[in-house]
């Protein structure tokens, strides 16, 4: 009766493996008292510059490391390392996002005992990174003013999974028809608990308030 069609129950979540690795990673980092931040945005929104500004603001009290994910280059890692910050480059080889096992591999190359915070600079993309738990304590996304205030409508998942929205390049506000109020309303409808900070990573405006939030989160997670 081999031709008879039978049904096999599977009931398996396709991301279950990744979610398990992410959970283990969070537990491991907790033991090491290291805070992991996952930073996501589209290409050119200012991730690297924001990381540099944030670390500059907090480096007197916290030790930072950076995981740089890029499809195929190491310019960002070199830029970070030029500031004396431990940086590891992860080449995703064409893949559009980082998953938890790639992050674990990158973290293995950093001396976690010497670091309080590791920032992941995820692949520039508002779609795919939103679908994968990286093991981070917090997800932060950047939306820059030139991208437009309608992005929550186009990329709802990214806004849903992010704990923080950094509205970057606010020095461009006067040059565009970007409606900050509309953006906030759209973002908060998708994610009522989202924290929103307006910054310019270029001029440094607003960075202090965001950095203070991050510092509080880090301290409450790792102590000290």
């Amino acid at each position: 009766m081999t031709n008879e069609v039978r049904l096999i129950e599977v009931k398996e979540e396709i991301h279950a493996d990744n979610d398990r690795v992410a959970r283990d990673l969070r537990a491991q980092l907790g033991e090491k008292h290291t805070f992991l931040l996952n930073l996501m945005s589209s290409p050119g929104a200012g991730k690297t510059q924001t990381i540099l500004r944030t670390i500059e603001e907090l480096r007197s009290g916290l030790h930072f490391g950076v995981l740089e994910a890029d499809i195929d280059s190491k310019v960002d890692a070199e830029r970070i390392a030029a500031h004396g910050i431990s940086a590891v480059q992860l080449r995703t080889g064409g893949l559009c996002h980082l998953d938890a096992s790639m992050v674990a591999k990158g973290l293995a190359a950093l001396d976690l005992d010497a670091l309080d915070v590791v920032i992941i600079e995820n692949v520039g993309n508002l779609v795919c990174p939103a679908e994968f738990d990286t093991g981070a304590n917090k997800n932060v996304m950047i939306l820059s003013v030139p991208e437009g205030d309608d992005k929550p409508l186009k990329y709802p998942l990214m806004f849903t999974v992010s704990d923080v929205l950094l509205v970057n390049k606010i020095d461009y506000l006067g040059l565009s028809d970007f409606d900050l109020g509309a953006l906030k309303q759209r973002a908060l409808r998708l994610n009522p608990r989202m924290q929103i900070f307006e910054i310019s990573a270029k001029t440094g405006e607003g960075v202090a308030a965001w950095a203070a939030w991050l510092q509080r989160e880090v301290r409450s997670a790792i102590g000290g």
Partner: protein, 116 residues
């Protein structure tokens, strides 16, 4: 997009479940994918056809059901479904609150498979 990687995961799970049974081939695989996913059904099938060559799942058809997006009202806790295009503009039908928390719509589940 990462259809290729997702498809690889689907195939691995399917083959793992197939290994425990005396079967000659996998005919159809039923997937439930949340409405919030941006994955394209035809690309998942396309990659699956490519990756599954020479395995028990070669020529298997992927039957994809989209699971609705469900949100819960922050004010009155009522849960209801919203359409993908309305996610950013929905309000609670009960009390009009616009602050809503996502309950489901992100899942990727292999429900079951038909085998011979």
């Amino acid at each position: 997009m990462h259809e290729l990687q997702i498809t690889e995961r689907i195939l691995n799970i399917v083959l793992r479940h197939a290994a425990g049974h005396d079967i000659s081939r996998v005919v159809r695989i039923h997937l439930r994918i949340g409405e919030l996913s941006d994955l394209q059904d035809e690309w998942i099938q396309h990659y699956f056809d490519y990756l599954s060559r020479g395995t028990l799942a070669e020529n298997a058809q992927l039957a994809i059901t989209r699971a609705p997006i469900t949100v819960r009202c922050d004010a009155c806790a009522r849960s209801f479904e919203v359409k993908r295009d309305d996610v950013g503009s929905a309000a609670c039908p009960e009390c009009g609150e616009q602050r809503l928390a996502l309950v489901s719509g992100r899942e990727y589940v292999i429900e079951n498979m038909e085998v011979q």
